[in-house]
Symmetry: C2
Subunit: 444 residues, 2 copies
C-alpha cells in the first residue's frame, strides 16, 4: 500500500489506514486528558545547538537551510527535532514562569531523523509522549502515575496485539551490583543490556572478563536479570539472592509501588522485568520498555523513565518522569501486514442517491438532515441508474444508500451488505453504532 | 505569551491557548467528516524537484541535509512542504489506483516557509485544507459543495470575529473583460487585483495606461469590481452593465449557484465579491477569499478555488476544487491580543484533595471513578492543608476540589469560584457541561 514514488523512511497512509491512526491518537489523547495531562505542541524546528546538547544522536539530525539563503545570512542554524523530550525541556525553561508545577503534558507530534534507509527505520514518524515535570523536586508517586496512565492508554487500544509494559528501576540494579561488590557498575549494566541478544553463558563470561566480576558475582547478576513478575513477588525473589544495599532497598520499594499501582489495569500486562536498563539513556530511577506479542523484533515500542534533571537553567532543576509511545513504529508494521485495517476509506455512513441532477437540492437536504444528527453523509456525484449508485457506494465502502422519496412513496434506506431496504425518515433514522464511523478491524 | 527564546516565525502556544487551537481543529474535522471528507496526512518532506515544479515560491523552501551526510551521498535533495496542495497532488498521482473518485479529503497539517522574519509572517504554521478531486472531469456542483462545507466549518467557530467568505468566478471576470473588448485580459486582472490597496481613480488610470483600456472600458471594469452581494442580486447588477459574452454567462450561472447553495448557512456571510481574482494562482473558475471583521489587515485567511488540472500524469488529468484555511494565521493574532483564550490550562475539571500521603490510594480511586465517566481529574501532588490545595487548584484553573469522605462524613465537592460545597458521590456527580472540558472564551 506504499505510494508509487515513496521516499524510503517517509511512510504515508491510505485514508482507511489513516482512520486507524486517528482512532489510536484520539484514544491516547482521551486517556491522557482524563488524567489531567495538558496538550502541548512545540515547534518542529530547534536551533541546532539546542538539538546537539547531548552528543550521541547528532548524526541523525536534519539541518535546514533556506533554498536561496544569502551567504552572509545571520540566521541561526536550525534543525528538525528528533524526539519530543529535548524540545519539551527547552519549552519548560522558556515558559517556566507561565506554568504551574507539577506540570503534566502530553505531546503527539511527528519527529524526524536523518537515518540511513533500512527496513523498520523511519525518517519521519509520530510519537506520543507523556511527562510530568516539577521544579526542584518531583515526588515518586508521579512515576506510578505515568506508568498507570500509559498502561491505561495502551489498554484502550484493544485491537492491538498483546502489550507488555516492562518496568525496572535503576536504583534497584545499581544497588544490587554495588551490594555484591562489583568494581565497575556501568560495565555490568552495559553487559546485562545485551542479555536479549546473547546466550546467558556468554553474558556470564563477559561479566567476568569485561566487568571484572567473580564467577559467583556474575551468576548472581544473571539470576537478577532473569527475574520477572506481574506482581510484587519479585521482591521476595531478589531478597532470596541475599544481597543488601540501601539503594537496592529503595529501588525495590519503588518498583513494587509501580506494580501495585498498575495492578487494577486490565487489557495490558505490567511486569517487573529486572533486565531492563535503558542502557544509553539518562534515567536515574524507574525505567520502562514495552514489547508487543509476536512483534518482539520491533524492540521496545514504548519507553521512558525518571530523569533527575530533565532541564536546568542554573537557578532551578526540573526533574521529570515520562514515557514515549512510538505510534508509527507500532502501527506501520501492523497496517503493512494487514493485521489492522480501517473498516472503510470514507467517513460517510450514507450515500444519498440522486434521482436527477434537478433534484440535487432534495438529496442535499436529506444529507444535511443526517449530518445535523452526527451521521456523515455524501450525495451521489451524478444521477446514474440506482444500481450504479449502489455499486459506487460499495466501492467506497459506504454501508447505506438512501433513496429520496418519490411522488408516491416514502424515503427508503438500503443496507448494501444485507440488501435489506426499509422505509426511513431522515429526521430520525440512525445507523447501528458500529457503522456510524469507520472502525478499526483487527485480525479476527 | 511568546517563549523567552522564541524563534521568530515559529509560534508556540501555552497549554490554555493550545486548547483553543485544538477546539478549532476538532470542529473543523467534525464538519469535514460529516460531509464525507476523508482524513489525509502526507509526509512533511518532498523531493525538492517536486516542490519546485511551480517556480514562484522556490525562495521560501527549507532544504534539508543530514548533519553528517557523506559528500558522495546519493540521497535525493529533500525540502519541507510549503503548502498542502502540492503534496496532495503528488499523493493523488502516487495512489490513484487505490482511490475512488471523486475523492474528498481534508488535510490539517503544519507547513513551513523559509520567509524572512516579519510581523505576521510565520515560518511554521498550520493549514486546514479541503479538496475534491476527480479523474478527467469534476462536475461543477463540487464547487458549491466545497464552499458550503468550508462555510459551515467556519460557522461552527462561533467564537471568532465575523467571517466573510468572498466568492467570485474567473470565467465571469474574464468573460466580462473580453466582452468589453479588453486587448490584454491578464493585465486587467493584475490591475484589478490591486483595488484594495490603491484608490479607485488610480485603478481607473492604470487600466488605461497599463492594460490598454479606453476610459469607458476602464469605468466598466471598476464598476464590475465594486459589485458585491450576499444573494444572487449581483447577476442583475452585472447585466445592467450591458456586457455580453458566453464566458460571462457561464461565470454568472456558476457564481449564482454557489450563492444559492450557501444561502441556508447561518453564522458566516457568504458573498459574491466581483473584485476577488486570486491573481497569481492557477484557478480557472470559482475563487474564494475570506476576511475577518476588524482583522482585514491579515488579508485573506481562507482561500482557494477551482483548478482544471490539480495533477496530471500524462494519461489522466485530475481537476479539483479546494479551499485552505490558515489556522495559525487566523488564531495567533487573536490569541496574542487576548481576543480568544482557553478557560483553563489543564483538562482537569476536578482536583481530588489528599488528606495524607497514606490515603493517596483513596483519592486515586475517586479520581478514577470520575474519569470512568469522562470527567478529567487529577489528585493533589502533596497532602498540604486543604486551604493550600484549594489555592493550588485555583492557580491551575481547576474549577472543582473534591474532598474524600472522612470517617464521620460523606464525600464533598467544592466549586472554588462560588465557594459552594455540597455532598457528592464519585459514582454519580457530574460538573456542569461548561466545566467538563476547557472551553474557548471570546471577547465578551
Amino acid at each position: 500500500m506504499m505510494p508509487v514514488t515513496s521516499l524510503s523512511g517517509f511512510p504515508e497512509l491510505l485514508p482507511s489506514e489513516r482512520f486507524v491512526e486517528l482512532e489510536v491518537l484520539d484514544r491516547l489523547r482521551r486517556t491522557f486528558e482524563l488524567h489531567g495531562f495538558a496538550p502541548l505542541e512545540t515547534r518542529a524546528i530547534e536551533p541546532l545547538e539546542q538539538l546537539l546538547r547531548k552528543g550521541e544522536i547528532d548524526k541523525e539530525v536534519y539541518v535546514l537551510r533556506r533554498l536561496h539563503a544569502d551567504s552572509d545570512s545571520d540566521d541561526a542554524e536550525l534543525g528538525m527535532h528528533f524526539d519530543l523530550t529535548v524540545p519539551f525541556a527547552r519549552y519548560v525553561l522558556d515558559n517556566a514562569g507561565h506554568l504551574e508545577f507539577p506540570f503534566r503534558r502530553y505531546q503527539i507530534q511527528k519527529v524526524w531523523r536523518g537515518e540511513r534507509p533500512q527496513a523498520g527505520r523511519y525518517r519521519e514518524f509520530v510519537q506520543a509522549d507523556i511527562d510530568v515535570v516539577a521544579k526542584d523536586t518531583l515526588p515518586f508517586h508521579h512515576d506510578v502515575e505515568v506508568a498507570r496512565v500509559m498502561a491505561e492508554a495502551l489498554a484502550s487500544l484493544e485491537f492491538l496485539p498483546a502489550l507488555r509494559l516492562q518496568v525496572n528501576n535503576r536504583r534497584l540494579i545499581e544497588g544490587f551490583y554495588r551490594g555484591i561488590g562489583a568494581p565497575d557498575v556501568p560495565a555490568v549494566m552495559r553487559t546485562i543490556d545485551k542479555i536479549d541478544k546473547v546466550p546467558a553463558e556468554v553474558i556470564g563470561r563477559l561479566l567476568v572478563d569485561d566487568a571484572g566480576l567473580t564467577p559467583g558475582q556474575s551468576a548472581q547478576c544473571v539470576a537478577l536479570a532473569n527475574i520477572r513478575a506481574t506482581d510484587t513477588s519479585f521482591v521476595e525473589q531478589v531478597r532470596a539472592l541475599g544481597v543488601e544495599h540501601e539503594l537496592l532497598d529503595r529501588g525495590l520499594d519503588e518498583l513494587a509501588a509501580v506494580l501495585t499501582g498498575c495492578a487494577a489495569i486490565e487489557g495490558v500486562t505490567v511486569e517487573a522485568d529486572l533486565r531492563i536498563a535503558r542502557g544509553l539513556d539518562y534515567y536515574t530511577g524507574t525505567v520502562f520498555e514495552t514489547r508487543m506479542a509476536g512483534w518482539e523484533s520491533l524492540g521496545s515500542v514504548c519507553s521512558g523513565g525518571r530523569y533527575d534533571a530533565l532541564a536546568s537553567d542554573g537557578r532551578s532543576t526540573y526533574p521529570g518522569v515520562g514515557i514515549s509511545l512510538g505510534v508509527t513504529r507500532l502501527l506501520m508494521p501492523l497496517l503493512q501486514q494487514g493485521v489492522l485495517r480501517g473498516s472503510r476509506p470514507v467517513p460517510s455512513a450514507v450515500l444519498v442517491a440522486l434521482a436527477a441532477e434537478e433534484t440535487r437540492g432534495e438529496s442535499d437536504a436529506i444529507a444535511q438532515a443526517l449530518r445535523r444528527r452526527g451521521i456523515a453523509a455524501e450525495v451521489a456525484a451524478s444521477p446514474q441508474k440506482f444500481g450504479k449508485q449502489i455499486r459506487a457506494a460499495e466501492r467506497r465502502g459506504i454501508p447505506f444508500v438512501w433513496f429520496p422519496a418519490s411522488a408516491d412513496g416514502s424515503h427508503q434506506v438500503k443496507d448494501i451488505r444485507s440488501g435489506e431496504q426499509v422505509d426511513a425518515d431522515p429526521a430520525t433514522w440512525t445507523p447501528p453504532a458500529d457503522d456510524l464511523r469507520p472502525t478499526v478491524l483487527g485480525p479476527g
